[in-house]
């Protein structure tokens, strides 16, 4: 079995790819998908530590994070649909209603 550093580095790589996606993409749906990727990267850390310590708590928290991701996706997509109905666009740069 490999040292746990491999899993941590994979998790870091996926997290950074997700962060780049959040910062650089203009389509809000893809920004939301990048956030899902970030949450998923954190899950790898939790499950890897759970395996290496032989303690199930990490997997329990991974399940809670999956639950959170589901709730976040539902609310986020609801906001996107409401926004699209009002402004007919999905570009993040157009979302400036609160800018003055």
């Amino acid at each position: 079995m490999m040292p746990i550093g491999h899993y941590l580095f994979l998790s870091l790589a996926l997290f950074l790819i997700g962060a780049i996606g959040v910062v650089t993409r203009r389509n809000v749906i893809i920004v939301l998908m990048s956030i899902e990727l970030i949450l998923n990267a954190v899950n790898i850390n939790l499950v890897a530590f759970s395996r290496y310590f032989g303690d199930v708590a990490g997997q329990v928290f991974a399940l809670f994070i999956i639950t959170d991701a589901a709730a976040e996706a539902a609310v986020g997509l609801g906001i996107i649909i409401a926004f699209f109905r009002n402004r007919e666009t999905l570009l993040a740069d157009e979302m400036d209603l609160l800018k003055w």
Partner: protein
């Protein structure tokens, strides 16, 4: 040996399709590549002997959340003719920062191997044949020590469901 082959196989698929996910123009293509990443991550969960999280990942993430995403992408019109990636220095700053953080993490993980007693890097996990049955053990944790967070998660899901319905509903009075 076999463990590391499986790990590098799934890790390679996960990283490559994640990189493709944030670079595709078409939102549907991005969603499909994100599904590939999530499935590869599920494979890594299985390699880590976390069978229940593996199944939950496939059923919830791929079968639930991503179907919701694709449904919304189909529902709204996406302007694929418009430039999809922010122009200007933002992209390069983001890449530079990500590169710096990645190198920093790599150096930290590499140095941590040199700590006395291997530091946090735990080279020897619990032996695989001594592990308790995964689902049983998970249920003991979920309905024992973590019962209150479990109940709170159900309240969170209820609130999110009501919120999503309210926001996606068509306003007739306003």
């Amino acid at each position: 040996m076999l463990d590391s082959v499986i790990f590098y196989f799934f890790a390679g698929i996960a990283v490559i399709s994640a990189a493709l996910m944030i670079t595709r123009r078409n939102a549907i293509h991005s969603a499909v590549f994100l599904i590939t990443t999530l499935l590869a991550t599920a494979g890594i969960f299985l390699q880590l002997r976390a069978e229940f999280v593996f199944v939950a990942q496939i059923i919830l993430y791929v079968g639930g959340i991503m179907v919701l995403f694709i449904f919304v992408i189909i529902l709204v019109r996406t302007d694929i003719s418009l430039p999809q990636v922010r122009s200007g220095p933002q992209k390069w700053i983001a890449l530079l920062v990500a590169l710096v953080v990645g190198v920093e993490g790599g150096v930290v993980l590499w140095l941590a191997r040199k700590l006395p007693g291997q530091g946090l890097l735990l080279p020897n996990p619990a032996p695989a044949d001594k592990l308790p049955p995964n689902t049983e053990e998970l249920a003991r944790g979920l309905f024992g020590a973590y019962l209150l967070p479990f109940e709170i998660a159900s309240v969170l899901l209820l609130v999110a469901m009501v919120g999503a319905v309210v926001m996606a509903k068509k306003r007739t009075d306003a």
